[in-house]
Symmetry: C2
Subunit: 133 residues, 2 copies
Amino acid sequence: MVDLHRELGKALHALEYGGELRMSETAMPSSEEQRPTKPREPIPPDTIFVGKKPLMAYATAAMMHFQTGAKELSVKARGQAISRAVDVVEVVSRRFYAGKLNIKNISIGTEVVGEGDDIRNVSTIEIRVELLA
Amino acid sequence: MVDLHRELGKALHALEYGGELRMSETAMPSSEEQRPTKPREPIPPDTIFVGKKPLMAYATAAMMHFQTGAKELSVKARGQAISRAVDVVEVVSRRFYAGKLNIKNISIGTEVVGEGDDIRNVSTIEIRVELLA
């Protein structure tokens, strides 16, 4: 079960302090933050990174985002989380905003991840949605 | 290891007899075809359905498709295979047709699958690519 209240709190917190939601980031243990070898790219606002958390965690975050008055949202994922990113957009647009969410653009790409011998390519997706008035 | 020769043969066969590639279909055992409960939708031409086979099986089929002179291809998948469909398009466009493949359109959707108590929603993706002259 997803703890909705906790998810809402976290989403709200992220929105209040920086206007961005990086779900996969908040899920990381704090020890992760001391690694100097992984430079963190700046997180664009209005973006949800879909990772390994349950679908509804991201769907809730997306709803919270629109609740604050935002009209656009970018749902990003890479690797196997790409399927979940599509699930998130489908659930939010069909179940919560039936007909009121428009998919503005979907783009795919490739990123290089890993270091040293572990360098590999991973596919990415970005789904931009907008809330219709 | 993907048996490239065998894959090429199968892809060629599919193209010669119907002009369509349904990879997940060719992978099924023949006993599957006797099930009357699963009505099969007509397969549109110029389409590859990405399923559980290795990435390169689909990438090879895509290349074979363009080798026959076709200019467009639709890569479809649903559920967890969505990530692999993106991988297929990325590998084919970057490794095999660097810069010569254009992603015309990407659309996502939801399909209802299963019967009786096992009815559930599954996300879908369709990626249309075209070979530039």
